[in-house]
Subunit: 502 residues, 2 copies
C-alpha cells in the first residue's frame, strides 16, 4: 500500500496489550494524526514501518498512557509489523477492500467464482479483514451455502495462502479425527505405529479451541510441539513422523484466523470444515489421508446421515486436489480412553504405547483400526493385513521405541503429572451405564482448568455398559486450584446427570 | 446474572482507552482471576459491580500498565457499569447466550418467530453480543432474507428496546429522508415550517456515519442538539418542534448498536433499514410520517424499482405498527443545495429560512414539497393546499421565527463559519454539466475533514444543466487544515471526473 509523503510519524511505545489475532493500534485522540485525518475509535487504518504495512483497528487513548507523538500496537501487531519501542511508524487511511463485495454477494446467497475465493482468503491472510468482516464471511458460508465447486475453490485458496511442505518420498500419510469426542487421543499412537512401519507421517495438530485438550496440548506434556517448518522437516526426515503444533508452521494461516472467529460464533459450516481440514493436509504435503468421523447424539456430528454427507465432500474435494482420502465413520456415543485433559490423555497414550495391562482398550483398538487403514492405504501392506500389522508393531514395542525417538528429536521426553486437587464423583444409584453426555463431560473438564492447566481434567471410569454399585466412583475431577475444582463441581450440580444409570 | 461468591475482586484503574460502543476489559495475564478461570485474550466475560453487570471482551495485559490486583475497562464500559478508579469489580464466566441459536437459524435462512426477534434485540441492547455476533446477525438479515412478517417483528422488537415518548397531542408529525444524497438538508426547514403551522414535530436526527454530515452535525453548528428526553419534551411542548440528536435519548438503542456494525460491513439490508427508520419514528411517538426516497445512479437507492420496493415495505410495516406513512420518491441524481459538510449545509438552511435572494432553490423547493405533504397528511390542511401553505409560512418569515425560537429553547443560536483553507476546483473544458457522482463528491468532502471538522466540506456550484466556461469554478473545497486539503485534492486527481461536462 502506498504511503502518503506528508504524513508525520509516531513513535512506538509498547503497552503490552494482547488482543489475540486482531491488530489494534492505540493513539491519542488529540495527536496530530487523529486530528488531521479525522480518525476515531474503531477506524480501520494502515500502519507503515519501513517496507512493511499492516491494517489495524484504532483504539483511541484519552489519557497520559501515551504522549501525543506516541502510538502503541497490540502484541501480535507489534510482531507482524516487526517494530519495537522507539521505532517510527506512519499511518494512513485504508482504501476500500475490493474482495468484501464478494463477501456481500455470498451473504446474498450468490455463487462466487474461484478468483473471488482467492482474493478473500488472500486479504484475510494479510490481515486486511476486521473480525466483523471475517464474521460476515463465515456467516455467508454457513449451512449449505457453498456447492461442491465452491468448496473446492475455497480449499485451493486456503492451501495457496500459506507455506507448503515438500518431501522426497512419494507417499506421505496423514490422519484427522473430526472433533467433539472427549479423550479421543489416537494421533500419537497412530503416528508412532505408522512411522515405525517405515512410512512418512509429518503430523501437525491443533491446540484446543473449545475442547478440554487438542493433540498439541496433550503432546506438550511429553515433548516440545512448537516446531518451525525447518524443525518439522528435520525430525520427519530422520524419524518418519512428528507431533507438531500446526499454527507455528503457518501452513494454512487463513484457516487459523477463520477458526478463531468461527468458534466464537459456534457456526457449523460444512464448507469451512472440509476446506480447513483438507487444506492443512495438502499444505503439509500429504498424499494419503484417513479421516475419522465419530457420530453420536452428543458428538460434533450427530447422525449417520450427516457423517455420510461429510464423507462425500471429503472424498470429492480430496479427488479435486489430488489427495487420496479414506473415511472411517465411527461410534461417537462416549469418550475414548479414560483421561480427558492434556496430562490425563497423555497418560492414556503412554500406557497404550507401553502395552501396560491397565491401558484403556477403547483407545488402543481405535488407534489400531486407524493405523491399520493407513497401512493399507499406503499400499505397503496388503488389503486385510493392515490391522494385524499395526497390532504387531504396537505390541512388540516398536511403536513405543519410535515414539520415544520422535519425542527426543523434538527436544525432550517427560512424564505427565496428576493435578494436586481432586474429587471423586460417585454414583447415586446402582445399575448399568446407558448414556454419557460428551459435551457436558468436556465442559466439566474445562471448568476444572483444562487445557490451560495441563494436569486438570477428568479421569473417566464408567463407559456405557459398566455395572455400578451405589457409591462407586464414576469419574474423578482433577484440578490445579481449589477454586476451579469448586467451579466444576458447581456446574455438575446444576445440570442433568451427565451419566445415565438404569 | 448471578455472581459466584468465591470470586475475588479487582480494583478499577482507568486507562482512558476508547473502543467506541464495544465493552473491553483489560486484565493482567498473570492475575489470579485470569489464571484460575482460564481466561485468555478475547474471552467474553461478565463484569459485576454492585447490582450492575456488563459483558466485556478481555484484552490481556502483559506489562506493568496494571498491577496484578487491578483491571481496566474501556471508556464506554466504565460508564455503562458506572465505576471509577478504585472501585471493586468481580468477574465471572459468560453463560451461553440462548438467542444466538436463533441468529444461527437466520444465517441458515430459516424463518424465526417474534419471540426470537425480541430476545435477539433485547440481548443486543443489553450489550450481551460481541461485535462479531452482531455482524453474524446482520449478515443473516441481509438481502431479502426476512419476509414482511419478520420485518414487522424486528421493528416491534426494536421499538420496545428503548424509551418511548408520549404526547398530549393526537397527531405527531415526522419525516425521514433515505440517505446518500449530499447536502440534502431539508429537515431543519421542514421542522420549522410544520411547527410554525401549529403542528407537533419532535424530530430526532442522527450524526454522520459514512456521509460528510448528518442533520445533527449540521444543526450543531447553529444550536445544541445533545438533548435528553426531558429536554426534548420541554422544547417540543413549548415550540412544537425540535432538532435533537436521537442517540442521546436512547430511543432505539438496539438500532444504534446495529448501525455501528452495519456501516462497517457496508451491508445493505432492506429489513434492517425499514426497522431502523420506523422503530425510531414509533419510539418518538410519531403518528404521521413522510419518508423521502431519492433514487439515482450514485444515490443509496439506485433504481425506481428499488424505491418502489422500499415504499411497499415502509407502508406495510407502518400499517402494522399504526404509523400513517406517506412515501415521496424523488430525484437523486445530484446534490441538493450548495453546501456539503455541517457548516456549509447550515448556511444553506439559514439562507432558505431567511428568504435570501441567493438561497439555493433546489433545497427550498424540496423542503417545501416535503413540508406540504406533511401539512396535508396532518389533515389540518386540505388536499392540494399543503404546498402553498408551506410556501406562505416560509416566505412570510414565520418559519424562520419558529426556527430561532426552537434554537433558543435548545440553548443557543450561532452562525456557522467558513473554514480557513480553501481551493477552487475549476472546469478543464467548456460545456454543459450532464452527470455528478454523489458518492465521490461526498468522499472529497469527508477527506477534507467533514464532519469532524464542522466547517470543512464542499461548496457546490454546478448542478446538472449548468453551462460552464473553461476555468469556471465547479466547486470549492474547504478545510480546517492544509494537510486535509491536500488529501482531498490528491483523491480528486486519482479518480475519474466527478462532474461530467459534455
Amino acid at each position: 500500500m502506498e504511503q502518503p509523503s506528508y504524513l508525520n510519524a509516531l513513535k512506538i511505545k509498547s503497552l503490552g496489550i494482547d488482543t489475540y489475532l486482531e491488530n489494534n493500534i492505540f493513539m491519542r485522540s488529540d495527536c496530530h494524526i487523529c486530528r488531521s485525518e479525522g480518525f476515531t475509535a474503531l477506524t480501520r487504518l494502515v500502519v507503515h514501518h519501513n517496507e512493511k504495512s499492516i491494517i489495524a483497528t484504532l483504539n483511541v487513548v484519552h489519557s497520559e498512557l501515551l504522549q501525543k507523538n506516541e502510538a502503541s500496537l497490540s502484541d501480535m501487531a507489534l510482531k507482524r509489523l516487526n517494530v519495537k519501542d522507539g521505532d517510527l511508524i506512519t499511518v494512513s487511511h485504508l482504501k476500500p477492500i475490493e474482495s468484501l463485495s464478494a463477501v456481500r454477494a455470498k451473504i446474498y446467497h450468490k455463487k462466487i467464482d474461484e478468483a473471488a475465493y482467492r482474493k478473500i482468503i488472500n486479504d484475510i491472510t494479510n490481515g486486511f479483514y476486521s473480525d466483523i468482516e471475517i464474521a460476515a464471511f463465515i456467516a455467508g458460508c454457513a449451512g449449505e451455502n457453498l456447492d461442491l465447486e465452491e468448496i473446492i475453490w475455497l480449499t485451493k485458496a486456503m492451501i495457496d495462502s500459506g507455506s507448503k511442505l515438500t518431501w522426497d518420498e512419494k507417499i506421505i500419510m496423514d490422519k484427522h479425527s473430526v472433533g467433539g469426542l472427549p479423550g479421543n487421543r489416537t494421533t500419537p499412537i497412530v503416528v508412532a505405529i505408522v512411522a515405525a512401519a517405515g512410512l512418512t507421517i509429518p503430523k501437525t495438530s491443533s491446540r484446543a479451541i473449545t475442547s478440554p485438550a487438542g493433540t498439541s496440548d496433550t503432546m506438550e506434556t511429553i515433548t516440545i510441539v512448537n516446531l518451525s517448518i525447518e524443525k518439522i522437516k528435520e525430525v520427519v526426515n530422520v524419524e518418519g513422523g512428528c507431533f507438531a503444533w500446526g499454527r507455528l508452521a503457518r501452513l494454512s494461516p487463513a484457516d487459523d484466523i477463520l477458526i478463531s472467529v468461527e468458534k466464537a460464533l459456534d457456526i457449523d459450516s460444512t464448507a469451512q470444515m472440509i476446506a480447513s481440514v483438507l487444506s492443512k493436509k495438502a499444505a503439509v504435503g500429504s498424499t494419503h489421508v484417513v479421516i475419522e468421523i465419530p457420530f453420536g447424539e452428543t458428538a460434533k456430528v450427530r447422525t449417520r446421515d450427516e457423517a455420510l454427507k461429510l464423507q462425500y465432500y471429503f472424498r470429492a474435494v480430496g479427488d479435486a486436489i489430488n489427495l487420496n482420502v479414506e473415511v472411517l465413520i465411527t461410534d461417537g456415543s462416549q469418550p475414548i480412553g479414560r483421561g480427558i485433559g492434556p496430562s490425563l490423555e497423555a497418560m492414556d497414550v503412554l500406557s497404550v504405547l507401553r502395552n501396560q495391562k491397565d491401558a484403556p482398550n477403547s483407545l488402543k483398538e481405535k488407534s489400531l483400526m486407524i493405523a491399520g487403514v493407513l497401512l493399507e492405504l499406503s499400499t505397503k501392506f496388503e488389503k486385510g493385513k493392515g490391522l494385524s500389522a499395526a497390532r504387531q508393531i504396537l505390541e512388540n514395542g516398536k511403536a513405543y521405541e519410535k515414539f520415544e525417538k520422535i519425542c527426543l528429536a523434538q527436544g525432550r521426553i517427560t512424564e505427565p503429572n496428576f493435578a494436586k486437587y481432586k474429587i471423586d464423583i460417585n454414583s447415586e444409584s446402582a445399575g448399568t451405564v446407558t448414556f454419557i453426555d460428551n459435551r457436558k463431560l468436556a465442559k466439566v473438564a474445562k471448568l476444572a482448568g483444562a487445557p490451560q492447566s495441563p494436569s486438570a481434567g477428568i479421569y473417566f471410569n464408567s463407559p456405557i455398559g459398566t455395572k455400578v454399585e451405589k457409591g462407586q466412583t464414576l469419574f474423578t475431577i482433577y484440578s490445579e486450584s481449589e477454586g476451579e475444582l469448586l467451579y466444576a463441581e458447581d456446574y455438575l450440580k446444576s445440570v442433568n446427570p451427565i451419566i445415565k444409570i438404569v
